[in-house]
């Protein structure tokens, strides 16, 4: 029973990192209706920039977080200009394929600049995990949970209580009507991209800071986990992305306990497969509600 509770706690902490990644990924998909495969590589670029800063300047934790987020936003802006701005009215597939090309480009540049590929990254907490009621929770997991909760609250406030949020939701609901209402779509999309990249950068920072190292796999891993969580959450809904991320973390934690580490990803993919086979409409539930009305 205690194991079950401990696994659930571990799964939630893991899931919180997926939720954070998925929020950035889903924000772009939900607003632009475009899939940004370069999302993860931009996060990788941000984390490598922070690693470089750490190696050369011995920067503190907060400075590294700022560098990661800023560099991820920069890489995101590059992707937006090259892949998404030119195809805003055009083909969604063209934008996705272009973002795949930039994935390769960003990853190659990052790996050429950082030839050892795997680098240590300063950890958020070195001490012993927190203990309560027989359960243990590492400090970085606690920070991850708190950061994800904080981003959810702030994002909700931003979307529902600000002028910018009004523009974003109008653009989601009906882009043509939004531009007729006087909303500058191009500007709104750029800002959404920057916001999504900043969330991705924060997620990437917290992930590498809790692992204590950064590897070139982070790029593909981030896009993959963000996409999986978004699919579990029903493609395009922000609350769905958060729940999807948490569900993915729980599935992974429990399947690792019951079936061993090799089965961990497999079980997650099998469950997603079962969901899509049994409920194909799950994937389009948000997109069709919008186009029907």
């Amino acid at each position: 029973m205690l194991d079950l509770a401990q696994n659930t706690l571990d799964g939630l902490a893991l899931g919180a990192s997926y939720s954070l990644l998925a929020l950035g990924f889903t924000l772009i998909f939900g607003v632009l209706r475009r899939m940004n495969l370069s999302y993860g590589p931009a996060v990788l670029f941000g984390c490598y920039c922070a690693t470089w800063t750490h190696l050369n300047f011995q920067a503190g934790l907060i400075a590294l977080a700022v560098v990661t987020i800023a560099a991820t936003v920069l890489a995101g802006a590059y992707v937006e200009r090259l892949c998404f701005a030119p195809h805003r009215r055009g083909s969604a597939v063209a934008a996705m394929v272009a973002s795949f090309a930039l994935w390769m480009q960003i990853e190659e540049v990052a790996m050429l600049a950082m030839p050892r590929h795997i680098y240590p990254f300063p950890q958020l907490f070195e001490g012993a995990p927190l203990q309560f009621a027989g359960l243990s929770l590492p400090g970085d997991a606690l920070v991850m949970l708190a950061a994800t909760a904080a981003v959810c609250v702030l994002l909700h406030r931003l979307l529902y209580r600000s002028r910018f949020g009004l523009a974003v939701r109008a653009a989601i609901d009906n882009p043509l009507a939004a531009s007729l209402a006087g909303i500058d779509l191009a500007r709104t999309f750029v800002l959404v991209f920057a916001l999504a990249s900043a969330i991705g950068g924060l997620a990437g920072y917290l992930i590498v800071a809790s692992h204590g190292q950064v590897t070139p796999m982070l790029g593909m891993w981030s896009t993959l986990k963000g996409l999986l969580a978004m699919m579990l959450g029903g493609l395009g809904s922000l609350p769905g992305a958060v729940l999807g991320g948490l569900a993915l973390g729980l599935i992974e934690a429990h399947s690792q306990w019951f079936f061993g580490p090799q089965a961990r990803d497999l079980v997650a993919y099998l469950l997603l497969f079962a969901l899509l086979a049994a409920r194909p409409a799950w994937m389009t539930r948000w997109t069709t509600i919008r186009s029907a009305s």
């Binding site: 002028r163 009004l166 523009a167 939701r169 109008a170 989601i172 609901d173 009906n174 043509l176 009507a177 939004a178 531009s179 007729l180 209402a181 006087g182 909303i183 500058d184 509600i289 919008r290 009305s293």
Partner: protein, 240 residues
Amino acid sequence: MAALLSIQDLVTAYGKIEALKGVSLEVAEGSITCLLGPNGAGKTTLLFTTAGVLKPRSGTIRFAGKDIAGHPPHRIVRTGIALVPENRLVFPQMTVIENLRAGAYQRSGAGEIEADIDRLMQRFPRLRERAAQDAGTLSGGEQQMLAVARALMSRPKLLLMDEPSLGLAPLVVEEIFRIISDLHRDGTTILLVEQNAYMALQVAQHFYLIEQGKVTFSGDPGSLEQDEVIRRAYLGTARR
């Protein structure tokens, strides 16, 4: 009266196909000017080009003395033109109030915006009843009122209306035309595209007939009544 909107030799194309082949027309300040013509004649294209959604290939669009041809939509809204699009296009997942706030996106001054929302709710009591409801749950007629109200939130000098009566029940159509007359009385200049020529000619002071991307006839509603040819060709489709 002076022309608030003056369009000269406007050409707009989708790829190689010219939807407007050199259209010229004027909308007098304070008037309701009506644009008639069969489906596919280019009426919506003309409104979209004026509102900046489509870029013209050539020609000029002068509004209050300034050439606005090719400007992006958000700048054109700021200069004082608002389009009520065909099929209403409200924001379905936003509340009625949020739809109205979105219409005031280019304006500043929260107090004045809220006061305008209040005034429009007096004008459209049905919207007040549904203020906190998602716009997607409104009936067709209510959505049309919301679309008009949203456009008015930008305080336009010129209102472009694309088929406001489309798909609405006869009683609702009458209500929409009553609103159009009210707006006219309050001094709003209106360029109205309407399939329902019978109703449109009752409120308009001037009309243009567009066919295959060209203006083929223009005049005052009285003159049309006498012209049997045009009556047979174009009022035949009017839903009485």
